[in-house]
Symmetry: C2
Subunit: 336 residues, 2 copies
DNA sequence: CTGAAAGCGCTTACAG
DNA sequence: CTGAAAGCGCTTACAG
């Protein structure tokens, strides 16, 4: 394997000139640069990663802390991982994957061995073990997700409060005045889970502000519970003409099956919007309008925010990505 | 951050003694070792990764080449990735994740920059672009999956031919003498896809050997195609009492729905076995007996085989993991 | 059982 | 615009 000395010899320059030519950290004469480029190409030279890490100030490696919980939805998780690994490459970074307990315990090792320049963390719990750790570690890091206490940390995620408002605004624009929200299972709210609560609170506040009749139901992921929740919406919201879903995929399927069974058409009888969904709603029958959880975007921002800290920007920020609305034909003007 | 010099000073020894104590590459006096251990603990010392890579012969990093195809089933893929990252840690290795085009193009970079000691590659196509590359690269590597031409390469995967035999043997032991195989969509076989073909051929050969009436159908992933395939099995195998599935999850669901619609009980009217499935068959209704695609095991073996090459074992092997049969109550003795 | 020292292949002041 | 040289923090012969 060729070293920088080989390149220098072939190009007839010093190794420092080769180094500077490659890093672009000082101006190099055109002729010199050409000779270096030719030598690099001829030898197939690539800087030794270890030497670079040791001599330089950067390792060009990021740690991706990605624990996988029992209830993690694999396709969404995959999308985050891919987005982050690809975004990292766009900035000439490689990604070391830390899974399971290493997602927590491996972080200290990454930092003290100086293997990585920064960290991107996924699957953030409300009381995540990595939150105090990252505060202590003092290394560029971004949480993709919002923990309970964000002080001193940089985080990025979908703006789910705006998403709740957006879902309602779209329905109201179509004339709907009575809208139900099917949320996550009740335990999640009691446990103080972050998103679901913020989405729900924002939904309720916006409904009040817009003068819309609304009700939130929080069924477990079982057909019977979904059925009961739907019946409750119908009985307590007599004019029910639209439903917003902020829940997992199985509940979507169960609801749609229930509606089919009841002979209720979507959107002819009921408009439906899926909000903050990490799965494609195209596959559902019928496909649902959706405000996607933009894993591609937030994952990439996670990388960018970590690298911007590396570049010296050290003020912690909580960045909320604006929601977007994707129509799939599951909403229609209210007909009375 | 403490360096080896700090540890040596605090312990009152030379840095080479610290290095040897930590690597265990030569015997150290008990008292000396204790002082070094104490100094390491006191300082929270961890060897600098870059220095280690540069001075030593190992980087303690593995590359995981994991392209994601459009038809990749995310949960299975996730399982492979987790198994590999965890197995690597068990041998004190970290894992650099290479996705999409980097899964191919990044490999050469990994090798020439000496970032990794070896490679584990997932999602192996019949004519995988990484196959010639890995042959050329001359670095410890293992393919988790079997390409068309395995010459010179180390590979590991489920023994799907044995899996086909196993599925049939279990059914025959229950008295079944007429067994259908629902395989993958026809294109896959025409395209020369590896597993499906080997499974099918082995299934047919075993059926002949056991004197079992059999038929293979290869429907597309659509309810109508699955229905037609099932009808064909019924009409061409009059005594049909069992079906082996070697196909994707959607086809499983479609078939079970079809049977429900027809009022056919599983296993009362029909025994069913899911073979080489990368998804849990517990979730299906009813749960199906399964010969799992053991991602945990083959993923881990991928790491072990790469590290054994690093340790000097250089003879390429194609290692086939024996299939196992997991009963879930979807098979029963034939009743006539 | 332990130490002094060379060297791994870079980056980056320092110098001109 | 370019070069000579120190130094990053280890590992590992070489020596005793």
């Amino acid at each position: 394997m060729a070293t920088i000395h080989d390149v220098a010899r072939v190009a007839g320059v010093s190794i420092s000139t080769v180094s500077y030519a490659l890093s672009g950290k000082r101006t190099i004469g055109a002729a010199t640069r050409d000779r270096i480029d030719a030598a690099v190409a001829e030898l197939g030279y690539r800087p030794n990663a270890g030497a670079r890490m040791l001599a330089g100030t950067r390792t060009n490696i990021l740690a991706l802390s990605a624990p996988l919980h029992a209830d993690t939805y694999a396709p969404a998780h995959m999308t985050f991982v891919l987005a982050i690994a690809e975004a990292a490459r766009d900035f000439d970074y490689d990604t070391v994957l830390l899974v399971q307990d290493e997602a927590v315990n491996g972080l200290r090792r990454m930092v003290s061995s100086k293997l990585v320049d920064g960290i991107v963390a996924l699957d953030i719990d409300h009381d995540d073990a990595r939150v105090p750790l990252l505060r202590e570690l003092d290394i560029p890091a971004t949480l993709v997700g919002i923990p309970g206490d964000t002080s001193g940390l940089t985080c990025v995620d979908l703006d789910f409060e705006a998403a709740a408002r957006l879902s309602l605004e779209r329905l109201v624009a179509l004339g709907h005045r009575s809208v139900g929200l099917i949320g996550h299972p009740d335990e999640l709210y009691e446990r103080g889970s972050n998103f679901p609560i913020r989405f729900r609170d924002s939904f309720e506040a916006e409904a009040t502000a817009l003068g819309v009749d609304s009700l939130v139901v929080t069924p477990d992921q079982e057909p019977a519970a979904v059925r009961a929740a739907f019946e409750r919406l119908r009985s307590e919201l007599p004019g029910l003409s639209a439903i917003v879903l902020n829940c997992n995929e199985p509940v979507h399927t169960m609801l749609l099956e229930l509606l089919r069974e009841k002979g209720l058409g979507v959107p002819s009888d009921l408009s439906i919007v899926s909000a903050c969904s990490s799965f494609p709603t195209d596959q559902l029958d019928p496909p649902l309008d959706v405000i996607p959880l933009p894993a591609q975007i937030t994952g990439r921002r996670g990388v960018e925010l970590t690298l911007s800290q590396l570049a010296g920007y050290t003020t912690p920020v909580v960045e909320l990505v604006a929601p977007s609305y994707v129509g799939k034909g599951s909403t229609a003007p209210v007909t009375t």
